[in-house]
């Protein structure tokens, strides 16, 4: 039953899924790295981005790249409002408080989406050139998968360069290391946080496009579970470190797919449970994740 080719095709499925998790996980890590804030609403901002694309393509028939641009802008706006209204007043409150606030924002966005667009699951089609299929033996890849896979690494390199060599990148690292000291260096914390949310929410919109492109349907509640899994990937890889998020994303995607593919069929439905069991195990062995720096918290 387990021919090499079967194993290979499951592995490729894992990489496909992993690249989507990695995209979302980078968005999580951007915000968490600086603010120690878990943005539960990150998954739902992704859904907002996808719905914008859908509305613009179906209602106004705009070409895809314009809709993607607008969807990034709208997702960023949603992210910034959430930061301004729900997170900024709680900046020096404990981690749990901002966690709860992000939970409330997530519930708020989901219900607003359900009211504006009906709860119906709706078809979502990418233009032909994006969903063309290439087959290598049993392995099948569509252009959107390849684009996702490549863009994860492109974004990782771009962001890492930005963090390492630009002014805003240094300011971000300073905030992440010690927020009070950063203030005394004359760094405007709010601008740094806003930039982090712009990048995070923008990435969420992109990953939303790729997730919907892969599964061809969208619904208002689609963002929450992938968001949670992407967060586990970010924690697995070492939250706060971008390369950790990408690594965690791929490990989680491949592990989940191999589990679903190789294990006997009775326990395939334990797939989600397995993902979180894996997370708990890794956190036991290496509390800060695989690549995580010893996270002294805010000294």
């Amino acid at each position: 039953m387990f021919t090499f080719e079967y194993f290979l095709s499951q592995l490729v499925n894992g990489l496909k899924l992993g690249s989507v998790y990695a995209m979302v996980a980078i968005g999580y890590s951007m915000v968490y790295g600086i603010l120690r804030l878990i943005n539960f609403a990150h998954g739902d901002i992704m859904t907002v981005g996808v719905y914008t694309i859908l509305v613009l393509t179906t209602a106004f028939g705009m070409p895809l790249w314009i809709t993607v641009l607008i969807s990034i802008i709208i997702s960023v706006l949603v992210g910034l409002t959430a930061e301004r209204v729900a997170y900024r007043p709680l900046r020096d409150a404990g981690e749990e408080t901002t966690l709860i606030s992000s939970l409330a924002v997530s519930i708020l966005i989901q219900n607003l989406l359900v009211m504006i667009f009906s709860p119906q699951r709706v078809a979502f089609h990418l233009p032909e050139y994006l969903s063309k299929l290439y087959t290598f033996g049993t392995v099948r890849l569509s252009t959107i998968n390849i684009i996702t896979f490549i863009s994860v690494f492109v974004i990782l390199i771009l962001l890492s360069y930005m963090i390492k060599y630009t002014r805003i990148g240094m300011a971000m690292r300073a905030c992440s290391d010690n927020m009070n000291a950063a203030k005394l260096m004359g760094i405007n914390i709010n601008t740094v946080v806003v930039v982090a949310f712009i990048i995070g929410s923008g990435l969420a919109a992109l990953s939303g496009l790729m997730l919907a492109g892969e599964y061809k349907t969208i619904d208002p509640l689609m963002g929450f579970v992938p968001g949670l899994k992407a967060f586990s990937a970010a924690v697995l890889g070492g939250i706060g470190s971008l390369s950790g998020a990408v690594l965690g994303g791929f490990i989680l995607g491949v592990a989940e797919m191999l589990f679903a593919g190789l294990m006997p069929t009775e326990i395939t439905p334990y797939r989600d449970a397995f993902v979180f069991l894996l997370l708990i195990l890794v956190l036991l062995i290496k509390p800060n994740g695989i690549l995580g720096s010893s996270d002294g918290g805010r000294s």
Partner: protein, 235 residues
Amino acid sequence: MLKINNLCVKYDTIRAVHDVSIKINDGELVAMIGANGAGKSTILKTISRIIKAESGSIFFNGKDITKSTSHEIVAMGIIHVPEGRQIFTKMTIEENLKLGAFLENNKSKINENFEKAISLFPLLEERLKQIAGTLSGGEQQMLAIGRALMGSPKLLLLDEPSMGLSPLMTQQVFDALLQLKKEGITMLLVEQNAYDAMEISDRTYILETGKITMSGNSKELIEDPNIKAAYLGGE
């Protein structure tokens, strides 16, 4: 240079600073001494707007800065070396210093400040690539002051630089401060180490439970009998 009028600061219900007025002229080194919890650090934090004042006003070169934000204050040249040094432990010494000059744009000014800091604290130069967290307490204090210099300060606020340092290291730090005083940088030095502070400062304010109880030239105060009894160990 700096004028504070009837400053009051409250933490929830506790009144930490009560009706404090201070004046610092150009080029002066003013010390502020007092027991732990007298409100010394609170005053510094209010100046650099880490915390909000309840009432009162702060003027810098005649400009009201009570309501301005931290980064505006740093841009004006008021650099605060916080209590407990607060350096970036996960970044290299060079990066810490670079961050000190975050708001400085022109390259030559940064290099100039860099040279000044290195000349003041030579040991920093050999270990530029080292992670700051690995430095000893004294070395971290030097790095913190060096980092402050990178921001070409007009007014330097120093919050207990000698805390947790060996006598030898404290001496080195105070020598450095004297050196800076010669170069005409105005400083407000908050210290528990009363004797050293009064020795190198022009004027001194004495703070007790949030209120200024005495102030005057350091030279006179050092001889004053009850100051000696209260702060100088009654030699």
